[in-house]
């Protein structure tokens, strides 16, 4: 017998009211722009939704810095080589691919959260066809950091961006205001992706970035007090060095972060009485000034 037949009428009505109320609460708490309410149905639609040419019109210098950054090529050089041809994530044809095939996209292309499996299939096709022109358009851009990831307490407002300061009238048709987000200048902002280590959210867990874990559990306990941004976004530099394509600069930054002393001596120790062994002794000492282990990622 169905439960409503055994309940008194008053209790049954109260139950219905509770269900309606709960549904309303759940609906109101659904994050704006979540995958369920406004999924892009094609890759073109998703790329258009995250197009940042509008940002470039006013923030030309910052946009140019970003274009040189690794954030601007977060897929290129990473997923193009064998990603779908071997291992547990491999597929026989792009049509088989769904969002589940892209655990790395949690950070390398978080926009996928707002896309359907059809989009995942199109990306798989681009990867398998080595379609670099399409892959270049998939990146971590202005709207990822200044909207989707711009706050960590609660969900972003649909028509707002987030930055280091408030901007009451932001001249943009879709994003007419910028809210100050306190986390924008905190390490936790970067820690959302430059992560803590193993991510168990997926059917096949992966070990993502461990950088923020090292920052939290090695640098801070050792007395470190700088934020990620102080070293990697000095003066709001959106190139976010190191840029591993700029090999000289990477070497320079590593030399500054890891000063090394070398001492060498020669002598003739006599460990076995009467037997002198010409010996060179080399002592090396490397100190790290970095805010995380090196190497790390």
């Amino acid at each position: 017998m169905a439960f409503w037949r055994v309940l008194p009428k008053k209790k049954w009505s109260a139950g219905v009211c509770c269900l309606v109320f709960l549904s309303l609460v759940l609906f109101m708490n659904t994050p704006s722009g979540s995958a369920s309410d406004n999924e892009a149905q094609s890759l073109k639609e998703l790329i258009t939704k995250y197009d940042t040419s509008r940002c470039k019109e006013c923030h030309e210098e910052i946009h140019a810095q970003w274009e040189k950054s690794h954030h601007a090529r977060s897929i290129m050089d990473i997923l193009m080589d064998g990603y779908f041809t071997k291992g547990v994530l491999s597929v026989k044809s792009p049509k088989e691919a769904t969002r589940k095939n892209f655990p790395c996209f949690k950070c390398h292309f978080p926009q996928i959260e707002h896309a359907s499996d059809q989009v995942a299939s199109e990306i798989a096709e681009a990867i398998l066809n080595k379609d670099q022109e399409t892959m270049k358009k998939l990146n971590i851009n202005c709207l990822v950091c200044h909207r989707d990831m711009g706050i960590v307490h609660g969900f972003p407002e649909a028509d707002a961006l987030y930055g280091a300061t408030d901007v009451e009238e932001h001249p943009d048709d879709d994003y007419g205001k910028v809210h100050r987000s306190p986390v924008m200048t905190e390490s936790v902002m970067c820690g959302q992706c430059h992560g803590l280590g193993p991510v168990f959210d997926f059917e096949y867990p992966v070990q993502c970035a461990t950088l923020y874990g090292s920052y939290l559990h090695a640098y801070i306990p050792a007395g470190g007090a700088k934020t990620c941004q102080e070293c990697h976004m000095e003066k709001a530099d959106h190139t976010c060095p190191p840029n591993f394509k700029d090999r000289k600069d990477v070497s320079k930054r590593l030399a500054e972060a890891l000063p090394m002393d070398v001492d060498a001596m020669f002598y003739r120790p006599q460990i076995t009485p009467g037997k002198f062994v010409p010996t060179v002794v080399v002592d090396t000492r490397i100190i790290s000034r970095a805010g995380h282990r090196i190497p790390d990622g």
Binding site: P103, P205, S251, V280, D283, I286
Partner: protein, 104 residues
Amino acid sequence: MVLEVTITDEMNRTLYEKNKVYMPQSTDSLNNAMVYGPTHKLGIIRDTSIQPFAAKTETFEASMPEGIGKVRVNVELSYQPRPGDVYPIHHKTVELHLGKEGKP
């Protein structure tokens, strides 16, 4: 990170070479074999990387053949994310005169 120490004589012959590798090392947590790549790694099981504010010190002791007059000690620190992909960081050279065999 790779620290390489090489000692050569005046004829540029290598008398000693050794390296130390500084890196976190992971398995896939299915067996004890080290793996590369984030889609394979799952759990660091050994970490020889250079930690914040912690000095990494090494001592290399190299026995030399008798009769060598002068040696050149080369110490190189480099970042090598992949084999053959080398970002030089430091290169220091020390010359040592070994002198004649000493008598106590």
